[in-house]
Homo-oligomer: 385 residues x 2
């Protein structure tokens, strides 16, 4: 097992009716920036619950944080905070709103041009404005981790950053919100969480036995509940397991002590930046082809995954190959496209563009073995056309 | 899934050579009480590593915290802290030293007689002295939770308390320490961790699918590595999985959103208080008989456990019964006694004594269904003779 540090100070508050705890969770006398996205919180009742819980607080609202939150939009929130002497931010929304608020939190007191936080991938360890979240869309795990991904419109770049100051002070996760979600968002959420686990699990066999069991537990649960929760989003059993799995998939626990990949995300982010394809869909398109191209590196773990998750039998090579097919089948069950051409007509130069961009950024060695080169990225993306 | 709050701010630092991080983890300029037990840290090299890492700090030592730490001993540490203007405590040891330090941390600034913390089971949410730990014996999970168990010598009571101020600020867990442990302590540690999981898992079937998978993952890993780590304690793969399993078994995660039992511990604590039987051994003696007496309540989960952990087949009743036998067999493999009479000759009035004591304490309804009465406790203990 690799050495690791596990530190996660987020107070995670889970269950029905928990939004009313906002008044005790929010720092006394705080002036709050209430940040949200496109307005779904007005339809699903969450906005009303939040306002009711925070009757005694002074609130300034900032709506319109878009999916794949934009640096340009978020800098407007930074201005509002500075002008209005805000001292606490409440993110009410999904991963995009929460990721956006993390950037705002880091940018408010940042000494320099906040675009550096993204382009230089700075580690934010202090001087962040405290924030909490009310989660409305299970998927990214951002409600209980210290990472964030923000898009710069001007350069069409989708970039990750993070740091120990980027943990939410608290996150309220009420699974009843799942019933208000469009089918497509539930499908995306399941696949997003599933792929998060795969990035941390599907590497090579190693000594961290318990982490594998935990990852496999999340994968098994997502496979068990995924198709059902799409059909029955008001079933609390399904919704609550979905929400909890999505958090556990990326709150840091399962990545401790093990190799990580994350190349599927690196490539997927480019597809979203270029074509606005939903994040989860980019992962479903890229991941299986990445496993195929990196088969020799990953076949040991693919075989373990095939045996433990899909009960496959045969030689390890057979099981590993079939496990990839089973993964594609699961993604299809979850309504995912499997090819880039399903999502855009304008795909022909994508592989060249992304491979060249990675070269320019110096991303010559990605993946758990540092053997995913820009040339391999080109092949993976071409296979995904 | 039941509503829950997950909050665990301990900075958990795991791996080889991590003790040297003490200097950066300990608050600057702190005057430290270095608390330890019977002196094993002088033999296994941990004391030297700690002193070397803390060269720049002022340290007062307090040794002699016993297994099942005594209130009477701990109050002496409280006096030392008050006299010497200590402002940080470092627990270097196993669960007993860490539990003891938690009590000391709570007692130092306590307004009133600290014995009330135990006898009135007070919730400690503030005014505790900050403390960190260096773990030398994987077993109790105390290094990453907010609970503690302390024995009052005068009344022969072993009592639990806790609260959000009782989380260690940090815990350093270096698995290489396992190689220095006596075989009996490794066996105890495995069984202690295993039984911790069972208290949170072996209740009745419920909707929290992922928590079950996590619990089963810990049980599977302990069964896989338990006998091997006893034979090869210097094997880092085995030692590291052992240490990590013991922490995850009782750091709060797997108990969230699910019913809990803990009656085996309540009864086991009495056996330790009465006869000084090792904690883990009391659990191994009591747990199987508790499952037998509470069979109707637990058989659904026993069947799930039998299928998933031991791959048993048959009717659910058959599987449930056989799963208890498999548990006993595992405990025996781990060197546990299976009867009270293996540990003491003086057992004949034990069932009466414990049942009466529980009645006097008003413990009329224990277990996940609140249906373990003092009368059932009497039967369980008698079966364990």
């Amino acid at each position: 097992m690799l050495n690791f540090e596990l530190y996660n100070p987020t107070n995670y508050v889970f269950g029905k009716g928990q939004i009313e705890k906002l008044a005790t969770l929010t720092p006394k006398n705080a002036k709050i920036l209430l940040a949200y996205g496109g307005g779904s919180i007005f339809k699903n009742g969450v906005y009303d619950q939040v306002k009711k819980a925070l009757t005694d607080f002074e609130i300034v609202e900032f709506g319109g944080i878009e999916p794949n939150p934009r640096f340009e939009t978020l800098m407007k929130a930074v201005e509002v905070i500075r002008e209005q002497n805000i001292d606490f931010i409440l993110a009410v929304g999904g991963g995009s709103v929460i990721d956006g608020v993390k950037f705002v939190s880091a940018a408010v007191h940042f000494d320099g041009n906040p675009i550096d936080i993204l382009q230089k991938r700075l580690l934010i360890k202090e001087n962040a404005m405290p924030f909490g979240t009310v989660l409305t869309l299970p998927a990214t795990g951002s409600e209980m981790n210290s990472g964030s991904v923000v898009t710069i419109d001007a350069t069409q770049e989708k970039l990750a950053f993070g740091g120990s100051a980027m943990f939410p002070k608290f996150s309220i996760c009420d699974p009843t919100v799942v019933q208000s979600l469009p089918k497509r968002q539930i499908e995306n959420g399941i696949v997003d969480a599933f792929t998060h686990v795969m990035e941390q699990y599907l590497t090579y066999p190693h000594d961290a036995l318990l982490q594998d069991r935990f990852s496999e537990g999340i994968l098994q649960t997502l496979i068990e509940i995924g198709p059902k929760v799409v059909e029955n989003p008001s079933d609390y059993k399904l919704a609550s397991n979905f929400m909890w799995c999505a958090t556990m998939a990326l709150n840091g626990l399962i990545q401790k002590g093990v190799p990580n990949d994350w190349a599927t995300h690196m490539i997927g982010h480019e597809l979203t930046a270029l074509y606005e394809i939903d994040h989860a869909r980019t992962l479903a398109i890229i991941a299986p082809n990445l496993y195929r191209v990196m088969f020799e590196t990953k076949k040991g773990k693919l075989a373990q995954y095939g045996k433990r998750i899909f009960n496959l039998t045969g030689t390890d090579d057979e099981i590993a190959n079939e496990a990839i097919n089973k993964t594609v089948a699961f993604f299809e069950t979850m309504g995912m496209p499997t090819k880039l051409s399903d999502c855009t007509k304008d795909f022909e130069k994508t592989a060249d563009f992304i491979a060249t961009r990675f070269e320019e950024r110096g991303w010559f060695a990605m993946g758990e073995k540092q053997n995913i080169t820009p040339e391999k990225v080109r092949v993976i993306v071409e296979m995904s056309y």
